[in-house]
Symmetry: C2
Subunit: 187 residues, 2 copies
């Protein structure tokens, strides 16, 4: 199903569509239609700087929403380009704006957003840790190691090699257990 809080909006507010690599969902300056929930595939949000520099704003991954702020804007402020084919749901801007009149939707939206902000702040703190070993340890303590080590490394802004080495060092220091190939947990 749709992630909170958008599951509370009328089903008429959603449009499913499949996307192919290279598709452009919207362009900087185009009138805003709403936000998107990516089911599968990959989408990049890119902005062109004042002197023509391309700048990636965000890389959306499966299960996440993007362009939420477009709901409060007349025009998109970046391009959305499909990197890997997949599927997504577009959620009407007007439905979201109307949804804020429903305290249930509004509170759920607020809770989700506040938790997301907190998670971002924590990741930024962790990414600011210089030593790979300390960073990986903090990432584990924060519960960021749930999927593959490769994904974990990307979230920590480390190469997977550096992450594997740090994991091994932590295991050798007795701070982390490695019960089986590819699984690590706090000692």
């Amino acid at each position: 199903m749709l992630p909170e809080p958008y599951d509370l909006l009328p089903t008429t507010a959603r449009q499913s569509q499949t996307i192919a690599t290279g598709d452009v969902l919207f362009r900087q300056g185009a009138r805003t239609l709403g936000l998107y929930v990516l089911k599968t595939g990959r989408v990049h949000l890119e902005r062109v700087g004042p002197n023509g520099e391309r700048l990636i704003i965000h890389r959306a991954t499966s299960g996440t929403s993007f362009a939420e702020a477009s709901v409060f804007s007349e025009r998109y402020h970046c391009d959305a380009i499909v990197m890997d084919a997949g599927a997504l749901i577009r959620i009407d801007k007007s439905a979201v704006l109307a949804g804020f009149a429903n305290p249930d939707f509004a509170r759920t939206y607020g809770r989700q957003a506040a938790q997301q902000v907190q998670a971002h702040r924590q990741i930024m703190e962790i990414v600011g840790i210089r030593r790979a070993e300390d960073r990986v340890m903090a990432g584990i303590v924060a519960g960021l190691l749930e999927g593959t080590v490769v994904d974990f490394a990307a979230r920590l802004q480390l190469t997977h090699e550096a992450t594997y080495r740090a994991l091994r060092a932590l295991v050798e220091a007795g701070r982390v257990n490695n019960p089986s190939r590819g699984t690590y947990r706090l000692a």
Copy 2:
């Protein structure tokens, strides 16, 4: 005055207080009172991991709010410790929750939160750029260089030395102008 959207809440929902270094605003597990807007000073949010590891969750700076998610929780999930003396305003949890019944407050909250999420995503993308010179350039294009270079460096998760060197390299490459000591802008 108070930053959006909290300026829309009744003044009775606010309590001003001064804070001294070492003060503890709340502890992990304590009943939640609400969120805070820091006027001056510095506050750290810290969490204790399952095995007793101290982990900084967030470092709040002047003019920003923190513990927003506590509004949706029974207990605080981290400690708030004053690092530098200053002043702050506490905003009642119940007033915020009640505020969501007001569509104007709810939409303003939603807009603020969505924009903050976007800003965080962009900073995370920029921080993921490995080369200091590219990172600094992206930071400038994104408009992150507004205060001091020292603050800019901290936002980029670079040392200020590395940032100064990157700025000099960008100036020498003609990509950035340095009209006067301490001021840099796109060429």
